[in-house]
């Protein structure tokens, strides 16, 4: 595909790599881009393990972003730490509710969740544009002839704390710090990535170490057997989508407090989400639908996105290439699944035939 654009592939790969990991700034960019992917991705792990295909990350992120900006603007004067926490909790709840709609529709009205979440994405996008143009618009834009459709910027006290300085201290402590001016402290890296890492571990524990997680996975594996086992399947379908939507909503909230600081209706939904609602699915699939596997996968895709921008600037390859590539990655991942499944089935078949051969042998010896 890169050849198609008449660019030298080697140059392109080098640009991609340099763009993503070449400098401390680039690494910071990569991690910042990876944050929403990871949060959406761990939500996707929950829903897909629960047998629910949540394509609604985009809409849930927008719901979360809107909630965060609304809470932040409402309590500009209050204690910043409390407000930041309130914003993040609010964004989780908003995303959860938006995802929960699809959950209720699936569980109680038998509406295919893939279709309903896609529709909810569009509704959220238009809803956001409407709100930002009317209710939420920056008072300073109101009187203008051509108002920019955006909200007020949240006060700087509500920006997620940057963690570059801490990293520099750590470097000093380890004696690694270099004399050059290029320090972590000047990068835009915020603590959202730390929150995302911690939550990935929490979700891993939830899914594999708690009853709720066990039931979510049981419902995903075999809903009928789960029903016979006394699990309230419908409730767990809704729960999967609630949690999955919640993490996407939180991704929106963190994106807002950490990167955007305001909602802007120009450029539509994608300008805010950066397609993370979809790309998070890719990261999760690539990470084997495992929250911990999603960590490196989302960093990889964050790097791809950042490198893609660099690619565009240095070898004139449009970043649409990255969208197309991500599409191909999804296809390859889901298409190669069959080989994994076949192999595991063969292993089971071999095991059972060996077992039966053994019993036959035992019987013969009797």
């Amino acid at each position: 595909m890169i050849l198609l654009m008449n660019a030298n592939p080697l140059d392109a790969y080098q640009a991609l790599w340099e763009g993503a990991f070449g400098t401390k700034n680039a690494v910071a960019d990569t991690l910042v881009k990876a944050t929403p992917l990871l949060l959406v991705g761990i939500g996707i792990c929950i829903s897909f393990r629960g047998g629910v295909v949540n394509i609604g990350g985009e809409g849930q992120m927008i719901a979360g972003g809107l909630a965060a900006v609304a809470i932040g603007l409402q309590y500009k004067e209050a204690d910043p730490t409390t407000v930041i926490i309130a914003c993040l909790v609010g964004s989780f709840i908003a995303g959860a509710l938006w995802g929960g709609i699809a959950g209720v529709l699936k569980a109680y009205f038998n509406v295919n969740e893939i279709l309903s979440t896609i529709m909810l994405n569009q509704i959220a996008a238009f809803g956001m544009m409407y709100l930002v143009r009317s209710e939420f618009i920056d008072p300073r834009q109101k009187g203008r002839a051509a108002p920019i459709p955006e909200t007020e910027r949240l006060p700087r006290s509500l920006d997620l704390p940057r963690i570059g300085g801490t990293l520099d201290d750590l470097y000093d402590f380890l004696g690694l710090s270099s004399a050059d001016a290029n320090q972590w402290g000047t990068t835009l890296l915020h603590n959202g990535i730390v929150i995302a890492f911690v939550l990935a571990i929490v979700v891993y524990i939830l899914l594999w170490r708690t009853t709720i997680g066990y039931r979510i996975r049981a419902v995903g594996k075999n809903p009928r057997a789960s029903r016979y086992a006394g699990i309230k399947v419908k409730r767990y379908v809704v729960l999967s989508l609630l949690l999955s939507g919640g993490f996407a909503g939180l991704a929106g909230g963190i994106q807002l407090l950490g990167v955007r600081h305001r909602m802007n209706a120009e450029g539509g939904a994608i300008a805010f989400t950066g397609n993370a609602g979809f790309n998070g699915i890719v990261a999760a699939l690539f990470g084997g639908l495992h929250p911990l596997g999603t960590i490196p996968a989302s960093i990889l895709f964050g790097a791809l996105l950042v490198g893609g921008n660099k690619l565009q600037r240095s070898v004139q390859v449009p970043s649409a290439l990255i969208t197309a590539l991500i599409g191909l990655v999804i296809i390859f991942v889901v298409a190669s699944d069959v080989f994994v499944r076949r192999r595991s089935r063969r292993r089971v078949a071999v095991a059972t035939s060996e077992a039966s051969a053994e019993t036959a042998g035992v019987r013969a010896s009797l």
Partner: protein, 317 residues
């Protein structure tokens, strides 16, 4: 207010705007009837929209002021070819490789979205190019009827063809052996297989046909309805088309009524905008999606979904 809005010209544009929905949803109906959910329609539409416009642009003589028939024919053929290739790829992924259909479709969508944009940037440098698309064809006598003439019989060829597909689809699905095989494969692939029907071959056929029709749906946008290409110009119509198949209960006629309902809402939306009636733009844009969800709630009450939908088939030993 309603009289003001429901004029003959709005109804005519409602009919016209139904074309992309119809092609895409009818193609999807074939696929779903045989048990394959193809969510990549939107991506295939975008590719069809771009490549057909490209072909028309290349072949039309420079400076032409009206349509150039060979170019339009080439546009349609190119769209069909692109659809054929993407449809075949979809079939390999979903039928042979048994990918999870909900997700592979998103992959195909993102590929089409990115690839069509990439080509657009590359070929036209992102400039919006207008082409001379399909002209209106007035059907003799009928087009002179009052109101009905304007609404139904002064449309272009792709519009007529789309509506002609509805009875054709009904006929193929319900009155031919091929249709019987398609339905059998969608309801009970094991039994169909035991009867000697090749599940794989039937599904390859329906999915490829679906790809071709989806691509044609894109072409009907770019070289017959708006005559330009823009990044992401389908704006969710492919996904709505998939929903329409559920809405129409897997019947060609139901799909057509669904398509008309949606296109009429679209036409009204445009009318509301041009008349400057005080409805928020976004509320009007949101309407089709809300409508889809409501439609899905009612559609799901009936239980005539093909039993094997989204389930890959693997021959037992």
């Amino acid at each position: 207010m309603i009289e003001n809005l429901l004029t003959a010209s709005v109804l005519a544009s409602g009919i016209r705007l139904a074309t992309p929905y119809l092609y895409a949803a009818i193609g999807e109906t074939f696929g779903q009837r045989s048990g394959v959910l193809n969510l990549g329609v939107e991506g295939v539409m975008l590719m069809g929209a771009f490549t057909s416009l490209w072909a028309v642009h290349e072949i039309t003589p420079v400076g032409a002021t009206s349509y150039y028939a060979p170019a339009l024919l080439a546009g349609v053929l190119v769209a069909l070819l692109v659809g054929l290739l993407m449809g075949l790829a979809t079939a390999v992924i979903n039928v042979t490789l048994q990918a999870q259909q909900g997700i592979s479709g998103i992959g195909i969508y993102l590929f089409g979205l990115g690839m069509s944009d990439l080509l657009f940037q590359k070929v036209f440098r992102g400039q919006v190019i207008t082409v001379n698309g399909f002209p209106k064809v007035n059907i003799p006598v009928l087009s002179d009827l009052p109101v009905l003439g304007e609404v139904f019989f002064r449309q272009n060829l792709l519009v007529y063809l789309a509506f002609a597909l509805v009875p054709a689809t009904w006929f193929v699905l319900n009155k031919t052996t091929l249709g019987l095989n398609i339905r059998a494969v969608g309801q009970n692939p094991e039994a169909a297989d035991a009867m000697g029907i090749s599940v794989t071959r039937v599904r390859y056929f329906t999915v490829t046909l679906g790809g071709m029709l989806a691509s044609l749906a894109g072409a009907s946008l770019s070289i017959s309805l708006v005559n330009v290409f823009q990044q992401n110009m389908t704006a969710g119509q492919g996904f709505i088309a998939v929903a329409l198949v559920y809405f129409g209960a897997w019947q060609a006629r139901g799909v057509m009524f669904g398509a008309l309902l949606f296109s009429l809402v679209n036409a009204l939306q445009l009318q509301v905008r041009t008349k400057g009636i005080d409805v928020p733009d976004e509320a009007a844009s949101m309407a089709p999606y809300l409508l889809t969800i409501i439609a899905l709630i009612f559609a799901s009450r009936r239980i005539d979904q093909p039993a094997a939908l989204t389930k890959p088939f693997e021959r037992g030993e």
